[in-house]
């Protein structure tokens, strides 16, 4: 039985992944270190995924305790259903990314590959430990390793000033969050007497303490998850990291913030009534603003990053619904909200990683990130384009792909309670989701349409090339996952049922009763029917096409004879109308030429820049003022390491004197 223990499997997998990059560090400019790392990570991911599946099928997991010589209590590792649901996409995406990185960031061409591989392993392993840690200090250590390896990953191309800037913003944001977490864990230690995590629903705190713990958790974890208005670090960080790193950051690291909030909430025996509504509001706010920001972006990866904010918002809508439901004892709301949130967590891990890996292929093939410089790539990338289309459809939540399943649960939860229970207010979630869905269609039609379709808008795009099978293979895996999960929603539901029951504190009978009302079989039928109809209509059309005359011509230009690719609609023009309707949220910076010059008109320039409202208009000005006000303190920050050590020593002395 010891050999089959899933926790041990997971710990072994984590250690292997953590150490996988070391051979690559030893051998510079040689491909074997990177290949060995990929093989180790893929093998460890398979091992981890096996453990996850055995946990889901009900094999009990044991806890491991290490009595380390640190004064924080023993280091405790354990897995429960909540951890499992985060580990499932984690191993899948990590394995896919490991394979992808061999071709995307080849050690033979890029000197930074060794370091990248090393931190990638460390990053993934730290996330595994984050969901397994059951001791506050151990958790924070893993959290910091995760946050810092993400920093080193995203500053891989550190020569670029953009990368340096977003790296610094990320570092500040993550450490502000960690500071909030320090407060939170210290408060828990002060009240519970130990750093070990309290048992589920075992913690009862006085109202002010409980409120402080929850608020600090929302700041610390919400910032990591990219919840508005703490999202400001996210678009830049995701856009400037290597694409496979963005895939992991967006698909996996953001979810660690969600995990943190869920874990913290699970400690309490009683939650304040406002918490569910607050999370619901924050989620709705993030979803609408995130997708509105995404709609206005011109940078391929920035767009995907902003859409991550939207998706995290949708996850938080689900969590909010569930918490409101727990408060009101509405089991339907609890089940649907939690199931929707967990399914969306898994789904987002699949399709967002797929899209980021796809954007890596695009950047690799064209050398640009600007949507408006691309176009016509569907011809040059016959494998990537359908895969990217699958990802785009899935992220819009359109049937028959997996995104629809998660949103379906949220809608059903919100509407059912809206119509039968005394909670009509939650029904408003449905129109919000509809608006978000509409904007998502706009955003991803723009992304797919402008990047892959039409005529190439620049020479880079005209010479774009398809990537090797090593890069497209992992994408095929992820796209296949999206399709299978969408066609057979029952698989996703089976995946999340244990965690929903565990987290919602519902008996299997209650769960079965609610889940029995979810029309999984009809959904599958409708999806299959849709495919059959598409194939039938398609076959009829193709037969007709084969027997009828066919000719080629140029696109009809309404009589204009010399169209050029530059006359096409660009991404910016595509979203211009929506952006001007959503003016307050996106706030693009338009620099118009003045047209008052006489004939003949002088040269004029027009520029269009999307700005980041929170970062560019609030935080940076505030920081500049604070920076000037406290410039006198810069004297103590002189860069001499030995004096810094002296500061630490002096602080310790002062603390010791104060204590005694």
């Amino acid at each position: 039985m010891f050999l089959l223990d899933p926790t041990l499997f997971l710990l072994v997998a984590a250690s292997c992944i953590a150490l996988s990059g070391i051979p690559g560090l030893l051998a510079h400019h040689s491909a074997w270190g990177q290949r060995v790392a990929a093989i180790i990570v893929i093998a460890a991911s398979c091992l981890g995924e096996t453990a996850v599946i055995s946990l889901l099928s009900g094999i009990p997991a044991s806890s491991y305790q290490i009595d380390w010589p640190l004064p924080f209590g023993p280091a405790l590792f354990s897995v429960d259903h909540l951890s499992t649901i985060f580990l499932f996409p984690l191993f899948l995406v990590t394995g896919a990314v490991a394979l992808y990185s061999v071709a995307y960031w080849p050690a033979r061409e890029k000197a930074s590959a060794g370091r990248l591989t090393f931190f990638l392993g460390l990053f993934a392993a730290a996330m595994i430990i984050v969901v397994m840690a059951r001791n506050g200090v151990l958790f924070l250590m893993a959290w910091e390793v995760m946050a810092l390896s993400a920093y080193f990953l995203l500053t891989t191309e550190q020569q670029s000033s953009d990368v340096q800037r977003v790296g610094t913003v990320y570092l500040l944001a993550t450490h502000t969050g960690t500071m909030a977490l320090f407060v939170m864990f210290s408060l828990l230690r002060a009240t519970a007497g130990t750093f070990a995590f309290p048992a589920t629903h075992a913690l009862s705190l006085a109202v002010p303490v409980a409120t402080t713990v929850i608020i600090t958790a929302l700041i610390g974890f919400g910032g990591k998850a990219g919840l508005m208005p703490l999202h400001f670090w996210l678009p830049g960080a995701h856009a400037n990291a290597p694409s496979h790193v963005s895939a992991m950051m967006s698909g996996l690291m953001l979810k660690m913030g969600v995990y943190g909030i869920l874990r913290t909430v699970s400690f309490f025996d009683q939650l304040p009534a406002w918490l569910g509504w607050l999370i619901l509001l924050l989620g709705a706010w993030s979803a609408i603003n995130g997708i509105a920001l995404a709609a206005g972006q011109r940078d391929l990866k920035r767009l995907l990053a902003c859409s991550s904010i939207e998706n995290i918002g949708i996850v938080f809508i689900g969590i909010g619904l569930a918490l409101v439901g727990l408060q009101q004892h509405a089991s339907y709301l609890v089940v649907c909200g939690l199931a929707g949130a967990f399914i969306h967590i898994v789904n987002h891990g699949l399709f967002k990683s797929l899209l980021f890996l796809g954007s890596g292929v695009l950047i690799h093939g064209t050398g640009t990130r600007e949507i408006d410089r691309m176009g016509g790539l569907a011809r040059r990338m016959p494998v990537t384009s359908p895969l990217f289309l699958v990802g785009s459809l899935a992220i819009c939540g359109l049937p028959p792909l997996n995104g629809f399943v998660g949103e379906f649960f949220l809608y059903v939860g919100a509407i059912t309670d809206g119509i039968v229970a005394p909670l009509p207010l939650v029904a408003l979630v449905a129109p919000v989701l509809a608006l978000v869905g509409g904007l998502a269609v706009l955003t991803f039609v723009k992304l797919f349409g402008i990047v892959f379709l039409g005529a190439p808008r620049s020479a880079d795009s005209a010479h774009g090339h398809e990537a090797s099978a090593v890069m497209t293979g992992p994408m095929v895996l992820l796209a296949g996952g999206c399709l299978i999960a969408g066609m057979a929603p029952v698989l996703l539901v089976r995946l999340v049922t244990p965690v929903v029951g565990f987290y919602g504190g519902l008996s299997p009978q209650d769960m079965a009763q609610v889940m029995g009302h979810i029309p999984l079989v009809p959904l599958t039928c409708a999806n299959v029917l849709l495919l059959v109809v598409v194939l039938a209509v398609g076959a009829a059309y193709l037969r007709r096409l084969r027997t009828s005359p066919r000719s080629q011509g140029s696109t009809w230009g309404c009589g204009y004879l010399e169209p050029t690719p530059r006359m096409q609609y660009t991404g910016t023009s595509f979203s211009e109308m929506a952006v001007s309707l959503l003016g307050g949220i996106v706030a693009p910076d338009r620099r118009r030429p003045t047209l008052d010059t006489p004939i003949p008109p002088a040269d004029a320039r027009f520029s269009y820049e999307t700005t980041e409202t929170v970062l560019d208009r609030i935080l940076i000005p505030v920081f500049q003022v604070v920076g000037t006000a406290f410039s006198f303190l810069r004297k103590v920050q002189h860069g001499q390491l030995h004096i810094y050590v002296l500061y630490i020593f002096a602080t310790l002395c002062v603390l010791m004197i104060w204590k005694n």
Binding site: Y411, A526, V537, R550
Partner: protein, 302 residues
């Protein structure tokens, strides 16, 4: 079983007639004789026999667009009840699938338009997705209101539930709902005052400009799909606005078809007596419809 067969037959064969009736009404208003009622059928047959011209910039996306758009509409028509007979495919929560099928068809219509690389079609696609963002919440507010009244999540129940008694009891909110839904019906089907299906070459076009480059059978599929969409949303509207049921299956089918024809005449009248709105006004009207439907919901939620 008979009802399912009639459902499928009506849904497949009837939609183009609506276009014929609209055309005839507009002709009558203009003092013309107009094309025969069956003209749309003749057009479709002619188009299916024709050859196709494809632009050199297009890919498989351009060919797949009309197919998937039509398929999504064909599934959607199975989800709505016609003439107080339950839909062939009905389950709790099918209203969400219904709304998202329209999203799917919109996705493919617009990417097929972008595939041609024409700036006109780009313009149309941009407008289509922008305006639908505003129309989508209206549909959800309306369906939610009805779901709340009928205490069900299935379109078959929601749409067969309204009766004259419910109209008397919740008249204000039903009236608001019908207004909002009629605006959505016109907007989603690109009729006047939002769009003019008769002209192609104006810069304010939405749907027609997106299909400029389609030809032959593909264009036939698009025309048929558009008629089907008009039929679907029209049926939703009729179920709410004209909730008369006799209990006799055949008479109910007759009433339904008559009501749909009256709706087509009504759309024809609107198109004849109104001018198209300026493009900047369209979002205002759509947001207005959303607010109307939100009002309707507020009234039944209280």
């Amino acid at each position: 079983m008979t009802d399912i067969i009639i459902h499928c037959a009506v849904a497949l064969l009837f939609p183009p007639l609506l276009l014929g009736v609209i055309g005839k009404t507009k002709a009558a208003f203009a003092g013309r004789v107009g094309a025969p009622y069956l003209q749309p059928y003749f057009d479709l047959i002619k188009l299916f026999r024709k050859g196709s011209v494809f632009s050199e910039t297009t890919t498989w996306v351009f060919r797949a667009g009309p197919l998937i758009t039509l398929s999504a509409a064909l599934i959607a028509v199975l989800l709505i009840p016609l003439g107080h007979h339950g839909a062939p495919l009905s389950f709790s929560g099918d209203l969400i699938l219904f709304a998202y099928l329209f999203g799917l068809s919109r996705f493919f219509t617009t990417i097929a338009a972008l595939d041609t690389g024409s700036s006109f079609e780009g313009m149309g696609a941009a407008r289509e997705v922008t305006f639908s963002c505003l129309a989508e919440p209206t549909l959800f507010f309306s369906l939610l209101t009805l779901a709340r009244i009928s205490k069900s999540l299935s379109l078959s129940t929601i749409l067969t539930h309204p009766t004259p008694a419910i109209w008397l009891a919740a008249g204000a909110s039903m009236l608001l709902l019908v207004g909002a839904l009629f605006i959505t019906l016109l907007a989603e089907n690109c009729r006047i005052p939002f769009d003019d299906p008769n002209t192609h070459l104006e810069l304010t076009m939405i749907h027609e400009v997106m299909v400029l480059d389609h030809s032959g059978p593909a264009f036939g599929i698009i025309l048929y799909g558009a008629a089907l969409k008009l039929f679907i949303l029209g049926a939703v509207f009729i179920n709410i606005a004209f909730p008369v049921a006799t209990g006799n299956a055949l008479i109910d089918w007759g009433i339904f078809i008559a009501a749909m024809l009256v709706l087509a005449v009504a759309i024809g009248v609107v198109e004849s007596v109104m001018a198209r709105l300026r493009l900047v006004r369209i979002p205002q009207l759509l947001v207005g419809a959303t607010i109307l439907s939100a009002f309707a919901m507020l009234l039944v939620l209280r």
